[in-house]
Symmetry: C2
Amino acid sequence: MTYLRSKVFQQEPLVNNTFLKFPQSSHSPIFQDPSEAKWKRLVKTTYLDPNGVKRTWESAERVTRPADSSVDGVGIIAILDKPGGQEILLQKQYRPPLNRVVIETPAGMIDAGETIQQCAERELREETGYFGVAVKTSFIMFNDPGFCNTNFNLVHVKIDMSLPENQHPMPDLEEDEFIDSFTLPLSSLYDGLRKLEAEGYAIDARVGSIAQGIEMAKNLEFD
Amino acid sequence: MTYLRSKVFQQEPLVNNTFLKFPQSSHSPIFQDPSEAKWKRLVKTTYLDPNGVKRTWESAERVTRPADSSVDGVGIIAILDKPGGQEILLQKQYRPPLNRVVIETPAGMIDAGETIQQCAERELREETGYFGVAVKTSFIMFNDPGFCNTNFNLVHVKIDMSLPENQHPMPDLEEDEFIDSFTLPLSSLYDGLRKLEAEGYAIDARVGSIAQGIEMAKNLEFD
């Protein structure tokens, strides 16, 4: 059976996804030899607290952030205007640290010399095949401030669905990337994620928190 | 000058916060000796990709998750009903991995034998002084699935502002915790966070993504 490396599903999330079955992972919860680690490192920070007490804190870092960048990468918010309403472009991707398939937004690491906007447009094109234009960038966000320094900008990318190049989006993935793209209605994102969790998927905190924000807004009055 | 270890600010975010000046940090971006690391560790995962190719992935883990828990901890959504509308309870906390003061929700690590709901109520009480009741729990969310296995439940905690014990909330912090609590209007959370970033604070991705979700919902129609 041929394995499709990536497909863009614009209608419904897959239920019986190949990704859920593929990982044959040996998850080794052991200290990795630091001299052998290429992408991540453990860090020790020393600081004086407000009472003048010297303290230390352990954390972890990626070693891939370019010297000219203030962030590790970007997350991408791409909303597709469908006849039934707005849908958000999401991905299913196997993540070795969890040994799970995770629901995330398109995202990626920034290259040296690249702007945030260029990075978002390039990653969207590579991961989903869609050609879009970055229209808005968030403040910088930190994934897990007590644990690591990983940070990113969330970039809103506008996709013109009438363009010829967006009729049959073809991803251009790295040989070690296995990503399925799909969409969920934005107004019911929270329920959609709950359903995917029940099916065995893990939920990324950024997508999950956006969904929580939408739910919380349903009871809010705006000016 | 006496340093106040924590205060609950229910009106306005602090502008000239002591925390912004306190850190005298020596951030050492060096490999920590694994035999000396107590709280974090580097992990190497081996897996077979869908083409049968054996691959490895580096990541990091906390070593503190209790054996009886499926999550590392909780984030807490606590909404205070104010005369002017709903406000979300937030914190300013110095985070050594960033050497920055970060805007986050109340949060904390789960203890062995504790339920998600008990953890949320305890952490809220310890960090902010408020007594609340956990009313709703999200799906499990993963902070940074390509980098680490850190995960948490976002728990909505209801605070009855008419209770005597909530009139003058008094935090009960660990000796190495330095946290200022404050609130921001929920409907303009995004603008509030942008302002705080301009003042020098770092923004946690969970809070930032909730704010993005609220902004995105402003243009949505709900059933």
